[in-house]
């Protein structure tokens, strides 16, 4: 048995069900395979390959789902759906477009946003926020989030202007539309979109300068 780093969930290395080893040489450890090789193995129906992908990226998927949903039950559902969808439709990932981690995070984010925008979830979230955080202050939201980041990423985030950081954090981690974000910040909608674009550009350049790669 192997264990997901930092996680008490155990992942078997060999399984009695699902085909194993049909797309890789005997003796090659799953942990030695590239993401592309793992995707090919998942496409061939090797469930342990999905387990290895989970081991590598479930932390990111869970983190973004939990942050956006602000609800553990909903975040669990989003995380499960991301990986079961990858299992059922591995062809949706196009390695020529980018790397697997950003793609999985984008999938998780989109599903999480869809979830919180549904009426039932919205009500649950509002009730929850009503009890826990009656006023969503953009600065507080930013501070809470950036505290969890690595030093390098935090330095990159520090390069953002306050209005850019607020727009990105509220939209991305708050799951708010740009219209809602504009209303919360008291800024024109077009201005918020421009702040998001400029902020992403500054972030990318700062991350590259810090040597951070996705």
């Amino acid at each position: 048995m192997t264990t997901v780093p930092g996680n008490s969930a155990a992942l078997p290395t060999t399984r009695s069900r699902g085909r194993v080893g049909t797309t890789r040489r005997a003796g090659t450890a799953l942990s030695d395979l590239s993401d592309d090789d793992l995707i090919r193995a998942v496409t061939a129906g090797e469930q342990p390959a999905l387990g290895e992908i989970y081991r590598r990226y479930a932390g990111a998927v869970w983190a973004v789902a939990k942050r956006v949903c602000n609800d553990r039950v909903l975040a669990e559902d989003v995380s499960q759906t991301v990986f079961t969808d990858l299992w059922r439709r591995p062809g949706r990932f196009d390695p020529t477009r980018g790397r697997l981690r950003p793609w999985l995070v984008a999938q998780a984010h989109a599903r999480a946003v869809d979830t919180v925008r549904s009426e039932t979830a919205r009500q649950r979230r509002q009730d929850r926020e009503g009890h826990l955080a009656p006023v969503a202050e953009p600065d507080v939201e930013s501070a809470v989030h950036t505290a969890a980041l690595s030093d390098d990423v935090r330095k990159a985030v520090d390069q953002l202007r306050d209005d850019e950081r607020q727009a990105i954090v509220l939209s991305y981690f708050g799951g708010h539309s740009y219209r809602e974000t504009a209303e919360m910040l008291g800024a024109p909608e077009g201005t918020v979109k421009t702040r998001i674009r400029r902020g992403l550009l500054v972030l990318r350049q700062a991350l590259e300068a810090q040597g951070v790669t996705p």
Binding site: A9, T43, Q80, I168
Partner: protein, 245 residues
Amino acid sequence: MNVAPYRDHPLDDLAAYALDAIDDALERAVIETHLASCEPCRLRLAVDEATLSCLVADEPPPPSVWAAIDARTGGPVPQVVVPVEFGSVLAAADSSPSPQRRRRRLVGLAAAAAALVAAVAAGPQILGAGGGGGGPAPGAELAGETLGVLTAANGTEVARVVDGPRGAVVELVGVDPLPEGREFQMWSLDGPEPTSLGLLGDGRDPTVAVALPAGTTRVAISDEPAGGSPAPSGLMAGTGSLRAT
């Protein structure tokens, strides 16, 4: 690579799209239509997604997450749908079919008929190809004039609409089947709000007959909960334009 001037690319909208901050289906469809034909913007989107993923500080998920995935993925090997040109499946099946392709065609056509029955029950927009509630019979020719092609954000063809002998037919050619509880839904984007054109099933059926209102020119297909949605709420599988019907 030649990158078009700023004015030719919706850069601000694209950035908001990368954050899933555009909740208006029509706005999303416009961006996705642009993405379908603009490689530089597809690259920009991928770069933005990669940048945003750096902002995510990994956290260990609870054990119940993997336990549920494990329970769900212990089943049969997932089937990957390979995009095929419309009509080629039928032509190939009639000449020298591989057993797998032959089976898939027949299963697909039979399933299409079943889906049509369900779709008619779900709403009046979906009709049988013959107008009487029946789908294309196995072996029936679906040849017809292509009214339009729907493409995904990455430019991949996902469906085409054909003016068949017994009405319009949607051929899903480049989509993977949806998981249980999800269903493709077709929309007209010609009005101020998207209007449902009906349900297309979960993607396992290659052809579904649809009733296109006269003058329909812009359409989209989205991934929705089974039974459909009053307005697009899920991922947009593809968008495209149709010739006047």
